[in-house]
């Protein structure tokens, strides 16, 4: 079939350019533009690429990206990520693999005040990696626990991906946020099991750290009050109807700023560096978004959405088989595709199919978030893996690839679990709806 041939060729070219070392965004832009030119001609191709940088960035809804990033920067500056890590260190560190477990748990905590997986991974890498190196953890386990833990950033609310999914499908973002909590806790448990499995096979990978006295542990419990307060502000404000999920990001950033000021950890220079860090990351993420949009427009015009739809609905499969097929598609796409373009391309197509089969939109939203999480850590193209490598420059990507495997398995198990037990996702939002 012509569609699949073109798509396959485009993916191969894209993947090749990325592997050669062209920045991901520009690889997508180059392949997308060339493809559009070949498919719809120069005029339309140039027209499209002239408009996308404008419309992709001038977006009210996407203001959640810089605002959640800014919130994370203030939270980190206020020392909350260290507080979280010290707390988890205290309760888990003395076990074998305990620091990696603490990393996962602290990522889960940080995720409650961060909307982005990449930001969560980058922040926790700075905090957790030196500590794990101090105790001679293997680089593979240390880096993988941060990369995997970082993906919790979009599963545990607030979440940029949930906002995007909610906007694209008209699903209640407040309900999506609440629905992420229980699977988020399950995710932490599964990752802890993955760590336990690794150190059981290779005890040298994660030596036990010194135990912290009980009294000190409980003292540390008190330090994470601000994190909890910020989480309650965001989720509570959305639920009480004070602001929308989009606005929650801006208000959350202001809240985090107040905390940082209150902690007296924000000099004018530190404030500026929070702003600069936010806008630099925003710029690099939006260039990826622009690339993803150009590429997915090309896929759209060659007719990939319809071909995907026919693939999924054509065989007359049962709902369960359809979901498993979609999961398989996401797994494969996630290995080779940047997560944002994967979502942009698939959700508008698959959502109507899945809804028609009777799946709950909130449930499917969590499913999509989990598929995105997986794509962030599956080799060869996993953004979180690259982020870790960017922060800790002397770790080889190959080492991270090997280390991540048990966590990928844990993720797959978790997706299968929510397919088997949809109630795990839906009971909290239903409880809240009364």
């Amino acid at each position: 079939m012509e569609v699949w041939e073109s798509a396959g060729l485009a993916f191969a070219a894209l993947f090749g350019l990325m592997m050669l070392g062209l920045p991901i965004a520009f690889a997508m832009l180059a392949v997308g533009t060339a493809g559009l030119w070949l498919h719809v001609g120069e005029r339309a191709a140039f027209g499209i690429i002239g408009q996308i940088p404008f419309t992709a960035t001038m977006s009210y809804e996407l203001s959640v990206v810089p605002m959640f990033l800014l919130m994370g920067a203030f939270v980190t500056r206020a020392g909350m990520s260290e507080d979280l890590y010290r707390l988890c260190h205290g309760f888990l560190g003395h076990r074998r693999g305990g620091l990696a477990m603490a990393t996962v748990a602290a990522c889960g905590g940080f995720a409650a005040v961060s909307g982005s997986s990449i930001a969560t991974a980058a922040t926790m890498a700075k905090v957790a990696m030196p500590e794990m190196r101090r105790y001679r953890y293997s680089d593979g386990l240390a880096a993988a626990s941060i990369a995997a833990g970082g993906t919790l950033g979009i599963l545990i609310p607030p979440s940029v991906i949930m906002v995007l999914y909610g906007i694209a499908t008209g699903t209640d973002i407040g309900q999506l946020f609440i629905a992420g909590i229980a699977p988020g806790i399950v995710a932490i448990l599964f990752y802890l099991l993955a760590v336990a499995f690794v150190v059981r096979r290779n005890p040298a990978a994660g030596p036990a750290a010194d135990a912290v006295p009980m009294q000190e542990r409980f003292a540390r419990l008190l330090t994470i009050g601000p994190v909890l307060a910020l989480f309650v502000l965001i989720i509570g404000g959305i639920y009480a109807g004070v602001f929308t999920p989009t606005e929650a990001a801006g208000v959350g950033a202001a809240g985090a700023l107040l905390f940082a000021l209150w902690r007296r950890s924000l000099t004018p220079r530190a404030f500026l560096s929070c702003l600069l860090e936010t806008v630099r990351t925003t710029a690099s993420l939006f260039v990826v978004l622009i690339g993803a949009l150009v590429f997915s427009n090309f896929m759209n015009l060659i007719g990939l959405p319809r071909a995907l739809e026919e693939l999924v609905t054509g065989a007359g499969l049962s709902p369960l088989a359809v979901i498993l097929l979609i999961f398989a598609i996401y797994l494969v796409l996630g290995c080779f595709m940047e997560s944002l373009s994967m979502i942009l391309l698939t959700v508008p197509v698959l959502f109507p199919v899945v809804s028609a089969l009777g799946f709950d939109p909130v449930w499917f939203g969590i499913f999509v978030v989990m598929a995105t999480e997986l794509s962030l850590i599956t080799p060869p193209l996993g953004l979180n893996l690259f982020v870790i490598q960017g922060v800790i420059r002397d770790v080889k990507l190959g080492t991270i690839y090997r280390g991540i495997v048990p966590f990928v398995v844990a993720d797959i198990a978790r997706v299968l679990l929510i397919i088997a037990l949809p109630g795990l996702v839906l009971f909290l939002p239903r409880l809240m709806a009364g």
Partner: protein
């Protein structure tokens, strides 16, 4: 620090100010609406325009700081001279792509100015915003060229990505 880097830093600073402004605008809008039934006039559009400008103001700085997400799988396998040459090549390729976007976005901005499209509430000419973005994309293209040259000279850390 050469003057171009100062320029990029200055533009980045403007982007940072916009980020702070966006936070303030949202908070004031929400607060005004919830407590006083007085939402901030034009908050929605201001956010949109600030978003667009922020991204492109910060782009040259992000480029010079090598913040573009890049796969660096085979880096350690390559000899130094290949890495340097590739650094220059990719810098030039990215600059070319930026230039292409800048050119087309500039033309699009001209069209929007010609037909008189404005934002609804504040009446900001949308074509003007597009034109500004296009200029900033040209600056980003220059940043890519400078970065490619720096990579060729083998500046420290030039090979690592993300």
């Amino acid at each position: 620090m050469i003057w171009t880097d100062r320029l990029f830093a200055l533009l980045g600073l403007c982007a940072g100010v916009l980020a702070a402004a966006m936070m303030v605008v949202t908070t004031v809008d929400v607060g005004g609406r919830y407590f006083f039934n007085r939402p901030l006039h034009g908050a929605f559009e201001a956010t949109e325009v600030m978003m667009g400008l922020m991204v492109f103001l910060a782009l040259p700085l992000a480029t010079r700081r090598r913040e573009h997400i890049t796969v660096t799988l085979f880096d350690h396998l390559l000899p130094e001279w290949v890495k340097r040459a590739a650094g220059l090549l990719f810098g030039v390729v990215c600059a070319g792509v930026c230039g292409l976007l800048a050119w087309r976005l500039g033309l699009y901005g001209e069209r929007l100015l010609r037909v008189g499209e404005v934002t609804l509430e504040l009446g900001i000419p949308r074509g003007g915003v597009a034109t500004a973005m296009s200029w900033l994309l040209w600056v980003a293209a220059a940043a890519f060229v400078l970065d490619g040259i720096a990579a060729l000279r083998g500046r420290p850390g030039a090979q690592a990505g993300a």
